[in-house]
């Protein structure tokens, strides 16, 4: 239990509390004792002086009767008085005999005296004075201060006890609270370790450390789940989409060995086989590129780039292809538009967007590529076509890997184009927007301004 961080922390605080208490109490005790001692010494000295005065003025007998009167009048035995002759035989006072521990020389002494029937043995503080041939002892017993002292010690002990109990219980309560939360986190994590990535750590509305940590871990889990889900999807899709060309390839080759057609036909088949293999390789390359982007590895490649220039190059690159199909490919820009990004990936994303638009725009159609700075400083690249567009149900799916909409049947491609654009957009900190143009589709890719580079997810 000592090993629990909460308990040891509470115990540590308690020990610190003891130390503070002791540091406070002992000087106080010391000062108190000093003050009492001084005060008593002064009173005793004054007493002794007054008695000495009587002795000098009126003689030993007067003092003796004065002492007798005083002793008689006294109620409590707080005052000790004793007058003796030179041989320390008592003449007057309330002590039966001169205390053995006190020498008959003037001075202050702490002693134990026997007060007989008025209290037995008491601690006392006495002043001794010599008056001619007589000895005078004036003292006060310490009983007066005993309750005070006792209370002081009780108080100190009580404070220490309260401190210890409070420390220990706070420690135990904290430990219990902490352990129950740690336990629930442990349970969640062990469920996750066993493969169920849907679990999330419990969080509360407060902003304490554990909660902040839990929220961060939950964010991490979201990302991991998404990645794992993505990988699972991709593996399924790979299995499906690579099997088809591989199956074609296999049957093509097997047929060759079985039929053994004439040379010319054999070579044509082999060329077909190479094309099949190239198709498989292209799918692989696209997937690897996607995986690379998803892993966020390319963020280190961010540099200031001119989005307008990238878009202009892409438009110019596709212009002859558009011309061939009588599609007007227009470019609108307001001059250089610096953004922070990966030029290779952005060029590829732009090229994919224009390529898509070209695929879906009708003959004599119009494609607009516009680059502009938005109000919030982000750059916006929009590619608009007047093709069939995408209905809302399909909008979610088009960025999924290997998804090919009805409209894309019969067009070349493997269904990874928009997934890549989506991944690139995400890497640059923004999502891809698909807007209806009735007819047509407007795809918007927004990019952060270079002054405020995108940090973290």
């Amino acid at each position: 239990m000592i090993r629990s961080s909460a308990v040891s922390l509470a115990l540590g605080y308690s020990v610190l509390g003891f130390a503070a208490l002791i540091l406070f109490a002992f000087p106080l005790w010391y000062a108190w004792q000093g003050t009492i001692h001084e005060g008593r010494a002064e009173i005793l000295l004054a007493d002794a002086q007054r008695l000495t005065e009587i002795y000098r003025r009126d003689g030993a007998d007067a003092l003796k009767s004065y002492i007798d009167t005083r002793v008689r009048m006294q109620i409590a035995g707080e005052r000790i008085l004793l007058l003796t002759d030179a041989d320390l035989r008592p003449l007057a006072g309330n002590l039966a005999a001169w205390p053995k521990s006190v020498p008959a020389t003037p001075g202050d002494y702490h002693i134990q005296v026997d007060m007989g029937d008025r209290g037995g043995i008491q601690a006392a503080f006495v002043h001794v004075a010599t008056l001619g041939r007589h000895n005078l002892l004036v003292g006060r017993d310490n009983r007066l201060f005993a309750p005070l002292e006792k209370r002081f010690w009780y108080g100190l002990t009580g404070a220490i006890a309260v401190l210890s109990i409070a420390g220990l219980s706070i420690g135990l309560i904290t430990r219990h609270a902490l352990m129950s939360r740690v336990h629930s986190i442990q349970q969640t994590i062990s469920a996750i370790i066993h493969g169920d990535l849907k679990h999330r750590l419990p969080t509360h509305l407060t902003n304490d450390e554990l909660n902040t940590l839990s929220r961060t871990i939950n964010g991490m889990l979201d990302q991991i789940e998404m990645l794992v889900h993505g990988v699972k999807n991709v593996s399924n899709s790979i299995a499906h989409d690579l099997r088809t060309p591989l199956a074609e390839l296999r049957s093509r080759l097997e047929e060759l060995t079985l039929i053994r057609p004439p040379d010319a036909q054999t070579f044509a088949e082999i060329e077909g086989a190479v094309a099949d293999v190239d198709r498989v390789i292209r799918i692989f390359d696209a997937l690897l590129r996607l995986a690379e982007i998803d892993a966020g590895m390319r963020r280190s490649g961010f540099v200031p780039v001119d989005a307008a220039d990238l878009a202009a190059t892409a438009v110019e690159f596709y212009a002859p292809a558009a011309e061939l199909r009588n599609i007007a490919l227009n470019f609108h820009s307001e001059g250089p538009l610096p953004v922070s990004g990966d030029p290779i990936l952005l060029a590829q994303a732009l090229s994919n967007l224009i390529d898509n638009a070209l695929k879906f725009a009708p003959e004599n159609g119009i494609i607009d590529v516009a680059v502009q700075r938005r109000g919030d400083g982000a750059a916006e690249i929009a590619v608009t076509d007047n093709g069939p567009g995408i209905n809302d149900a399909e909008k979610v799916k088009v960025t999924e890997r290997f998804y090919r909409g009805d409209a894309s049947r019969g067009t070349p491609g493997v269904g990874l184009g928009l997934s890549l654009v989506q991944a690139v957009a995400k890497l640059h900190g923004n999502a891809l927007e698909l807007q209806d143009r009735n007819p047509g589709l407007r795809v918007v890719l927004s990019l952060p301004a270079p002054q405020a580079p995108y940090i973290g997810m």
Partner: protein, 226 residues
Amino acid sequence: MKILLVEDNERVSQFVVKGLQEAGHTTDHADNGRDGMFLAAGEPYDVIIMDRMLPGDIDGLAIVEVLRKTGKRTPILILSALSEVDDRIRGLRSGGDDYLTKPFAFGELLARLDALHRRAHGVNQEGPLTVGNLHLDPMTRKVSRGDRQIALQPREFKLLEFLMRHAEQVVTRTMLLQNVWDYHFDPQTNVVDVHISKLRQKIDAEFDRSLLRTVRNAGYMVTAAE
């Protein structure tokens, strides 16, 4: 050309050596890093083809680095199954001159070797280029064929300039994408072909001999040959 191939895969090696032989080059082959390093350091080669991943304790990039540190300037083409852009950059940074991802088409490899060799032998970089009766002046940015001036768009000019710098040599689509458009990815369309046919219309259309030819399964070539 005298070429060194450092590659551990037997199948790929055979394919490359045979292909290079048919193209008229002599090839030495090493199937591990130690032999590769030994040959590369000792013999004078025109170009070295270096696989990145080699058996044993010496990998391709390490050999490239050692060669560069010892002052060997032989052009090196790095072959690798790693396609990620960062790997490509690392390969080029270690001192490689070009990078080709496996699997590759033999035409692509051959075209790149030619280009590397030619670059290393300091072909005139600034002066006017001439192929047959086609002239291109990079300084004045003027193009003419015979006594006729040809007006080209800036990108068309860049395309023709690249092709003419590699005249009598096959230039692949990937090489054009990388060098003319700075596109380091495969746009998966035939757009390059469209650009070429537009260019061909401007420089070849009204002449009886075509200078810009398509090489089947490989790419394009600007040539004055019949």
